[in-house]
């Protein structure tokens, strides 16, 4: 049982009392809330460093305070996967798969998946880019191969929102937001996976449909 932090507990109590939590995707569903497979956020954007590259960020295990962050870990039985549809049918044509073992992250792909949908396999014949998982309080360790960069480790949660004010609105104890608001996610961390790939590896579509999933070994 991982150490829980006060904020998480407070939000859990609050959500239990009013029945809804609105964060980005933090603790979004009963089956994944507070587990190692809970995605908090997904980002996809052109690299600020190189306009020929695309960056994908999948954050998991949200609302970690500094104490919890020091001991937080990726689950070796959970795969974090970015799905990319470049044909417009909302079925993944390419996958980027991050898996964890012995202090190291291995990122397979982008590769055509041998199976799509809810089940999955690690495409172990695909290109693999590895990095040591960065430790809390240490500099980021970055893996770099074939123009692909990868990172895994605790990071500041980039999400910002006055969740408490919104909950007060839903609970009927406030009629609107405050100005200025208060960022409920300030000072909290996530377990982050960041992958930067050349756009040329993603096909030639002008628009991609992308989504992040977590899959557990069965």
């Amino acid at each position: 049982m991982k150490k829980k932090n006060l904020l998480l507990t407070a939000i859990a109590i609050l959500s239990a009392s009013i029945g809804i939590v609105w964060a980005a995707d933090h603790i979004d569903a009963p089956g994944v809330a507070n587990t190692s497979s809970d995605i908090t956020d997904f980002y996809a954007f052109q690299s600020p460093e190189n306009s020929d590259n695309m960056v994908f960020v999948v954050n998991t295990q949200g609302l970690l305070d500094p104490t919890a962050s020091a001991t937080a870990a990726f689950d070796e039985n959970v795969m974090i996967q970015v799905n990319i549809d470049n044909t417009g049918d909302n079925v993944e044509d390419l996958v980027i798969q991050a898996v964890f073992n012995d202090g190291k992250m291995s990122v397979y792909g982008p590769a055509k998946p041998s199976v799509t949908g809810k089940t999955g396999k690690v495409e172990t014949d695909a290109t693999v880019t590895t990095a040591n998982i960065s430790k809390y309080g240490s500099a980021a360790t970055i893996g770099n191969k074939n123009g692909i960069k990868v990172f895994a480790g605790p990071r500041d949660d980039p999400f910002f929102f006055d969740l408490v004010a919104y909950q007060n609105v839903l609970a009927g104890t406030a009629s609107g937001f405050n100005n200025p608001g208060s960022d409920t996610f300030a000072g909290t961390n996530v377990m982050a996976v960041v992958v930067e790939v050349p756009k040329s590896m993603l096909g030639s579509a002008a628009t991609l449909n992308t989504w992040a999933v977590t899959k557990r070994k069965v």
């Binding site: 809804i20 609105w22 964060a23 980005a24 995707d25 933090h26 979004d28 569903a29 009963p30 089956g31 994944v32 587990t35 956020d41 997904f42 980002y43 996809a44 954007f45 600020p48 960056v55 960020v57 305070d65 962050s69 959970v78 795969m79 549809d85 909302n90 079925v91 949908g117 809810k118 089940t119 172990t124 970055i142 990172f151 500041d156 980039p158 910002f160 929102f161 937001f177 100005n179 608001g181 996610f185 300030a186 000072g187 982050a192 960041v194 930067e196 993603l202 579509a205 002008a206 628009t207 991609l208 449909n209 992308t210 989504w211 992040a212 999933v213 977590t214 899959k215 557990r216 069965v218």
Partner: protein, 177 residues
């Protein structure tokens, strides 16, 4: 003869060691041949949390995007009207059915040939960058009415940026607190 025998034996040993190590490498990939089952899923921010009822949340997380539209569009519309009973259209000109239908297939659209942003006043849903104020965009589209001026107390949480600056270089997210 003895030397030849010894050399052959060594070669045989070396070859079998090579095979053994190849085999070992293959077998030691801890991920090979594992089967995985999906648990969580996310495209656009806050979709499951806002538009999916408690009873459906786990199901939504394991419904593939190509099956989401037909299964969830009308449920999303019900949730939208529960949040804002006065909803007519939003700043994108979408009525309740159109907006709900667009959101129900929960994938994040990303442009490969222009600026990537959730919304910057010009580009709409061409990606999601770290600094994008996605919640205020969604609040505006849910509560703001056709010109964004309705329900002004509900259309902006007045948290417009992250608590710490992002990095200009990989991995872009700020160091942990």
């Amino acid at each position: 003869m003895k030397n030849i025998f010894r050399a052959s034996a060594l070669l045989l040993l070396a070859v079998s060691a090579l095979f053994a190590s190849c085999k070992k490498d293959d077998d030691s990939n801890p991920f090979k041949d594992n089967t995985y089952q999906q648990e969580d899923q996310m495209g656009r921010p806050a979709i499951n949390t806002v538009f999916v009822t408690t009873a459906d949340k786990d199901d939504f997380n394991t419904t593939i995007p190509s099956a989401m539209g037909s299964k969830y569009a009308s449920k999303f519309q019900t949730q939208l009207m529960a949040l804002n009973a006065g909803y007519t259209t939003n700043a994108l000109g979408m009525d309740a059915a159109t907006f709900s239908g667009a959101l129900a297939t929960d994938v994040l659209n990303v442009a490969t040939d222009k600026k990537t942003t959730f919304f910057d006043g010009t580009n709409v849903l061409t990606g999601r960058a770290l600094a994008d104020d996605v919640i205020s965009v969604e609040l505006l589209l849910i509560f703001g009415g056709p010109d964004g001026t309705a329900n002004p107390a509900l259309t902006d949480d007045h948290v417009d940026a992250n608590d710490v600056p992002f990095l200009s270089t990989f991995p872009y997210l700020a160091a942990a607190h």
